[in-house]
């Protein structure tokens, strides 16, 4: 069908400042057939996707949202190195049509690195509604690269953007050389550095002028690189020129160059953009509430709490069932519990289990399938709806622009424990899963704050731990069940706050440390796009399903064998003689202090050990070990007291969340010490908190 002469593969990068609508456009371009790529050397979420256009295969690389190409953050460094590597055949820079003057800053910086650029103006449909008219041809003529208006809402310009990108990749459009901005009175200094570098042109990997500019701006990474290639003398000379600029202009060169770039942009865009009116958003009054003291934090916390309440109720009936129960409406309460999504799914799984045993007879194989795999995976899978609902709510907050307002509102209270408003994003994400939350700390500009968060974020219970808490709660009388959930979350946030406060105070005393600071863009509030919400939900669900299908599935089989096979490799009906019992025999003493008798202690100890790998597995281990079909039955069989359950809940919530979290803490901190310290801290605090909870509950 396609003409083979045109058939070629191109790699095209997409970059843009935060909030320009980059992810949305990437998803449209790739039709959602994207995957997270593993980039050598760095664990960073870089999405890659493929699309075909006019017989050309295009590999699209979605780089993280960044404001510029300094080496301020890891993301900026990654994006910069990738573009300079020469790998991309073209770079699509996305600019927000609603804020072209500001968001073009990234485009102009990209143009200083490479001529192979296409500029896409996003939200072009909304620009007209906001009275903004942009002369794209004029901008294109001035910059010498294609400029294409696009809209994710109406799909306008998508094909044209791809066509232009291919034209640039083939060398039919775009600039042959990077763009030159006239830096006026700074030019003599820039060209002095340029001529110093020129002598080493063959050995330097990057464009000379770009390097000169970055060196003048004080880029430490690049400076070290140049010193390595060109030697100490050249490096010293460059440093001297930088000092001279500082002395003569009495300004930081980085500031001078940024100012020049914005002025230059003003000249390029000035008569190419016409603004007729600035329309005030309808939600303006509502958003102001977030900035009010007291009202703001309360509003934000209410939104978060409300979200989780609704999600819980739909999924498990909790806490509505308890409310109804306490009002004397017992029938309604149990109906809600029974017909909640979780209740229905649990019925389904136990029906499948008994169907298998009834149809194929009792054998070790049907036992493995029914009581090992189906009840193991099933006990975790019933939480999928919960994960979908919570993801949907979080996506709404993020895509509507409410999330950054919440960050501002909570900045005050959070700074008391040494954490800035920026931390609210990773904190909220932690309630879903700690792994992406830890990756999200990269956006936090303060390094010390980030390291503290790497250590403390895992205290915040993810949905896997929620699974365990709810399972424990299900075995208690409903009123106490609710109390257990409250206890779990309170213990978690208390630990998070206290440990942060201690680390922050210690740091402040040692280094004089600074107050947490915030610099955060507040994009206009708008109605979220349905498909964007769905993508968020689907991404999270996919992640969860994959985990249930792989890790939980394999663990279910492994646990079944450890429980049903004796050390002499023979099938056994008595779990007390199994391999699991032997292994956990040594660990049992850890739960003696909370009054669990040795006969049962090994079951708990084994579940906690498995929970190290993935927390959901605590529930499935208990059900498999006791040979029951639900956590509720398992716990009743174990006959744990309310005090013991409370103590165990606190321990489960606070100790190391899972192997994946530990791995990501290591890859982000790049420090074995930091990672080990985190593990020790979590285990220590969890254990002490468990003992305290047990002690307190006995007194009460």
């Amino acid at each position: 069908m396609s003409r083979s002469t045109h058939k070629k593969e191109y790699e095209i990068a997409i970059i843009g400042q935060p909030n320009v609508g980059k992810s949305t456009l990437f998803n449209i371009l790739t039709g959602r057939k994207a995957h997270v790529a593993n980039w050598p050397g760095v664990t960073v979420e870089v999405h890659e996707g493929e699309t075909y256009f006019n017989g050309n295969k295009i590999r699209l690389v979605d780089l993280p949202g960044i404001y510029g190409f300094s080496t301020l953050s890891l993301e900026e460094r990654i994006a910069r190195n990738y573009i300079l590597s020469g790998r991309p055949d073209a770079v699509i820079v996305l600019v927000d049509s609603l804020n072209p003057e500001r968001t073009m800053y990234l485009a102009i910086q990209a143009l200083e690195m490479t001529g192979k650029v296409v500029i896409g103006f996003t939200k072009s449909d909304a620009a007209h509604a906001h009275g903004i008219h942009i002369n794209y041809d004029l901008i294109s003529k001035r910059l010498g690269v294609p400029v294409v208006p696009v809209s994710a809402a109406t799909l306008r310009g998508i094909r044209s953007l791809l066509r232009s990108a291919i034209d640039v990749a083939r060398g039919r459009a775009g600039r042959k050389k990077p763009f030159r901005i006239d830096y006026g009175e700074l030019e003599p200094y820039v060209s002095s550095i340029e001529s110093l570098l020129k002598q080493y042109e063959e050995r330097l990997e990057y464009p000379i002028r770009w390097m000169a500019l970055r060196l003048l701006e004080g880029d430490d990474d690049l400076y070290k690189y140049v010193r390595g290639v060109c030697g100490e003398d050249i490096a010293e000379e460059i440093a001297r020129i930088r000092e001279e600029v500082k002395k003569i202009f009495r300004r930081d060169p980085a500031e001078l160059l940024a100012k020049k770039r914005f002025e230059y942009l003003q000249r390029i865009l000035g008569d190419a953009i016409v603004r007729l009116e600035i329309k005030k958003g309808r939600f303006e009054r509502f958003t102001r509430l977030f900035y009010r003291p007291f009202v703001g934090p309360v509003l934000s916390l209410t939104i978060l709490l409300g979200m989780f309440m609704i999600a819980f109720t739909i999924n498990t009936g909790f806490p509505l069932n308890i409310l109804l129960d306490s009002l004397g409406m017992h029938d309604a309460a149990s109906a809600i519990e029974e017909y909640s999504i979780g209740g229905l799914m649990e019925k389904l799984f136990s029906w499948i289990s008994s169907w298998i045993i009834n149809s194929f007879g009792e054998s070790w194989l049907t036992d493995l399938v029914a009581n090992g795999i189906i009840s193991g995976v099933g006990s975790v899978l019933i939480f999928l709806p919960l994960i979908m609902i919570v993801s949907l709510f979080l996506a709404i907050l993020e895509d509507s622009g409410i999330a950054p307002r919440m960050a501002v509102s909570l900045h005050g209270p959070l700074s008391k424990i040494g954490v800035s408003g920026h931390a609210i994003f990773p904190m909220t994400m932690s309630l879903g899963c700690n792994v992406p939350a830890i990756l999200a700390t990269r956006a936090i500009p303060s390094r010390s704050e980030r390291l503290r968060l790497l250590m403390t974020l895992p205290f915040i219970p993810c949905q896997a731990r929620l699974v365990v808490i709810l399972a424990f709660a299900s075995s208690l009388v409903s009123g106490y069940g609710a109390l257990l959930v409250v206890l779990g979350y309170s213990a978690a946030f208390l630990a998070f706050a206290v440990v942060n406060k201690i680390l922050y105070t210690y740091e402040k005393r040692k280094t004089g440390g600074k107050e947490p600071e915030i610099v955060l863009e507040l994009p206009p509030i708008h109605r979220p796009l349905g498909k964007v919400l769905w993508w968020h939900v689907w991404d999270n669900s996919k992640h969860f399903l994959k985990k249930a299908g792989t890790i939980i599935f394999s663990l279910s089989i492994l646990i079944w064998f450890l429980v049903n096979v004796s050390p002499g490799i023979a099938l056994t009906d008595n779990p007390g003689e199994s391999i699991a019992a032997v292994i956990s025999h040594y660990l049992s003493p850890i739960v003696y202090p909370i009054g669990i008798e040795p006969g049962k202690a090994w079951i708990i100890a084994f579940a906690l050990l498995i929970g190290f790998i993935a927390k959901e597995a605590v529930v499935e281990t208990l059900t498999i070990l006791t040979g029951t079909s639900s956590a509720q039955q398992a716990l009743i069989l174990l006959g744990l007291t309310a005090s013991q359950l409370a103590a165990l809940t606190v321990f489960v919530v606070l100790y190391v969340p899972c192997i994946a979290t530990i791995a990501v803490i290591y890859s982000e901190s790049r420090s074995v010490r930091h990672t080990l310290a985190t593990i020790a801290l979590m285990l220590g605090i969890a254990y002490v908190a468990m003992l305290i909870t047990y002690g307190l509950s006995l007194i009460i």
Binding site: Y67, G68, S70, L72, L98, N99, E101, R102, Y105, R251, D252, A254, E255, A258, K259, F262, I278, R288, Y291, R292, P293, G296, P404, A407, V408, S409, H411, G412, S420, G421, P445, S446, R447, K514, E515, P516, E517, I518, V519, L520, E521, L522, P523, P524
Partner: protein, 82 residues
């Protein structure tokens, strides 16, 4: 040109006021983020909201940005009468 030759910290400006940035004091990562967001000397900022505590909300180049008070204290501006 400007007859009001007084400069103040951004932190001190009331809601609704307008000013031109004169200088940003200090060093460190923050300052580069501010430059990238268009906060450089000479640029005009509108104070959207400043309630005396919590972050100051400003508008620069059409974009609203929340700025912590510690940083707002280090952004020296020259008020413009509107």
């Amino acid at each position: 040109m400007n007859i009001y030759n007084r400069t103040v910290a951004l932190e001190e400006l009331p809601s609704g006021s307008r000013a031109r940035i004169v200088e940003i004091i200090g060093r460190g990562g923050w300052i580069y983020r501010l430059y990238q967001m268009g906060l450089t000397p000479g640029v005009i900022v509108d104070v959207v909201l400043n309630i005396g505590r919590g972050p100051v909300i400003i508008r620069v180049m059409g974009v609203e940005i929340a700025i912590g008070r510690g940083i707002a204290r280090r952004i020296i501006v020259e008020p413009i009468n509107t």
